[in-house]
Amino acid sequence: MAQTVIDTANHIAAYAAKAARVQVVAAYPITPQTSIVEKIADLVESGEFDAEYIRVESEHSAIAACIGAAAAGVRTFTATAAHGLVLMHEPLHWASGSRLPIVMPVVNRSLGPGWNIWADYTDSMSQRDTGWIQFYCADNQEVFDTIIQAYKLCEDGRVLLPTMICLEAFILSHTYMPVKIPDQEKIDRYLPRYDPKWSLDVTNPLSHANIVSPDWYMEFRFMMHEAMENAKQLIPKIDKDYGNRFGFEYGGLVQKYNCKDADIILLTMGTMGSEAKIAVDNLRREGFNVGSARIRVFRPFPKEEIRKLAENTQMFAIVDRGISFGMEGFLAEETKASLCNQKDQPLIAGFIAGLGGRDVSFRTIEEIVRKSAKWMQNGRIEKETTWVDLRE
């Protein structure tokens, strides 16, 4: 029997690592990820979770240890946030370039200064070019399911790239929600033991990650790009299959809600997507023809789905919990780039909201839609990027 637990996303992430039968965990505490590493310690020391647990001395060493363990042929797990994630920047590249299927929850938190421990996507967005697959979750159930799915995906020989499971600080990390945890037997059938094609093995000595001259380097990078494209094909299939087995499905790359006939489509990520659904329901009652598309996977970026959505709508209102200084929100950038050279593009308005944990509720999103609707009626965007709830 599946078991329903009421717990925080951080504890759920630890349960997911256990359910995935992770063999080596290496992790370092950082607010607001800390309760993941604490829960794993409890589970390992009580014997419930049979894993090696390396309590490293930094996030840099956490991922570097996972690189060694994954290369030596076992399933690995770590977790981090904010400054810990950006400290990992160099080994993140090393992990993906080494084609090691490490899975890592990232509890999205702002970067200092000033010190701020609340939700913000700038940490993981600034790692988007590291060659890691990036999922963004909207609730605790999705955190559990996506961690399990992530191993299925990234251990696939067509992919072999590490994966981040992004979840917002406190909004998910410390919030209790009911989560269904499937039977271990069913998970084991779905996710067999990690059996890599190659590993550090004295009977078949290979040199991993050694020098590559200009004569070969591009080919290796192209293979990584191909692997991302393969992941894009596999994610919807894995999501569907997982849904059939365990009852939860998330729309593959993009979770769409009332998009079919919508004049305005909200593009959001993470928990803002949950708020967007409430806003859509409320606004539809007021007569606004609005829908919501929650981008669940940021790398690989679902540009084909974005194009499909763009074909049948008048306007995208894009809400970003992060800013690329001197440009605009990350999702707005990627969406516009996806639509380049496409005919009949919708109007696009970008909104920066919720930085450093400022609340983005359904009411915030309703205001965004009302403003967008006005601009749509005028046929003109007054402001390319609007900072929401900003003291000016």
């Binding site: 490293v56 080994p91 290979l206």
Partner: protein, 306 residues
């Protein structure tokens, strides 16, 4: 003690070569000699973790390698951490007949890698960490490191370094790991016996290997072994072990406690272009520091424990 009793001649070493022909180390490379000895001492049931250093270049570029054992190359500062991951994975897989060896230069050990190394030591990780110390960032063309000795020319200390070298073996001793040793490829059987002891040791072993480098030290490529011998004979480099907290000088260093038995430091310095700009005062100062080190070795050797 075991190391003397099982001391064998170099002719008795395995004839197998796991550092294969075609490697691209400089002529006269001290670390390359040491690598060959390492494999001969430990055999091929070894997994090497190698950060950015000369040894990430020595095996040659993809699709070739001259290391006949599995190698995990890692980023510069991560040897201790990545080796920890490999050790944990092997334990998880039930593999108990493979030795994990971190093989890092002095930059990757003294400087950028000291945090990961310290963490691995504190966690009592069961592996051998070897710092092959050529006293500069050799791979990038000889820049100063925390291991560069006082007075040495490097490209970032063109008039000679003004600070002294860290005492890495004693930094590791402060971690209370079970086995610490110094070595030099000019004394191959000393190095081999220390490697074998390290392999048997439960927990972490640290071997600090002085590895002369003709390119960085500015001496003739034929003189690598001679320079290493002079380092030991002058007392600039002492061969010792700290086993379970007990300090012991090894031959021939154990014969050099009396100052009169040691050659003057300037004989070692004179052969190397990197010390060309030392003044007489500098040389005298270096001699004083070496003599002070030996006073400490004398105390440690008499008291036996740290």
């Amino acid at each position: 003690m075991e190391s003397e009793n099982t001391m064998e001649s170099i002719k008795g070493l395995s004839r197998e070569e796991y550092l294969l022909k075609g490697h691209i180390a400089c002529a006269g490379c001290g670390p390359a000699i040491a690598l060959r000895l390492l494999f001969k001492a430990l055999g091929n049931k070894v997994i090497l973790v190698v950060p950015a250093c000369c040894s990430s270049v020595i095996p040659g570029p993809y699709p070739h390698t001259s290391f006949a054992v599995p190698v995990q190359n890692v980023i510069f500062e991560a040897t201790g951490a990545t080796a920890s991951g490999v050790v944990a994975a092997l334990r998880r897989r039930g593999v108990d007949d493979v030795t994990v060896v971190g093989w890092a230069g002095d930059g990757g050990t003294f400087d950028i890698g000291i945090q990961a190394l310290s963490g691995a030591a504190e966690r009592e990780t069961n592996f051998i960490y070897i710092c092959y110390d050529n006293e500069a960032y050799g791979n990038t063309g000889v820049q100063r490191s925390g291991a560069t000795p006082y007075g040495a020319w490097t490209t970032t200390t063109p008039t000679g370094k003004r600070e002294r070298k860290k005492d890495m073996a004693f930094i590791m001793a402060a971690h209370r790991i079970p086995y610490i040793a110094t070595a030099c490829p000019s004394y191959p059987m000393d190095f081999v016996s220390k490697l074998r002891k390290a392999k048997r040791m439960e927990g972490m072993s640290f071997i600090h290997l002085l590895a002369p480098c003709p390119t960085g030290w500015r001496y003739d490529i034929s003189k690598t072994v001679e320079i290493g011998r002079l380092a030991v004979q002058t007392g600039v480099w002492a061969l010792f072990e700290i086993e379970l907290g007990k300090f012991k000088l090894n031959p021939p260093s154990n014969q050099l406690l009396e100052k009169a038995k040691r050659k003057p430091v300037k004989e070692y310095l004179a052969l190397q272009g990197r010390f060309r700009n030392l003044t007489n005062d500098d040389i005298e100062q270096k001699q004083i520091w070496v003599d002070k080190d030996w006073e400490r070795y004398y105390d440690l050797a008499s008291n036996k424990s740290l």
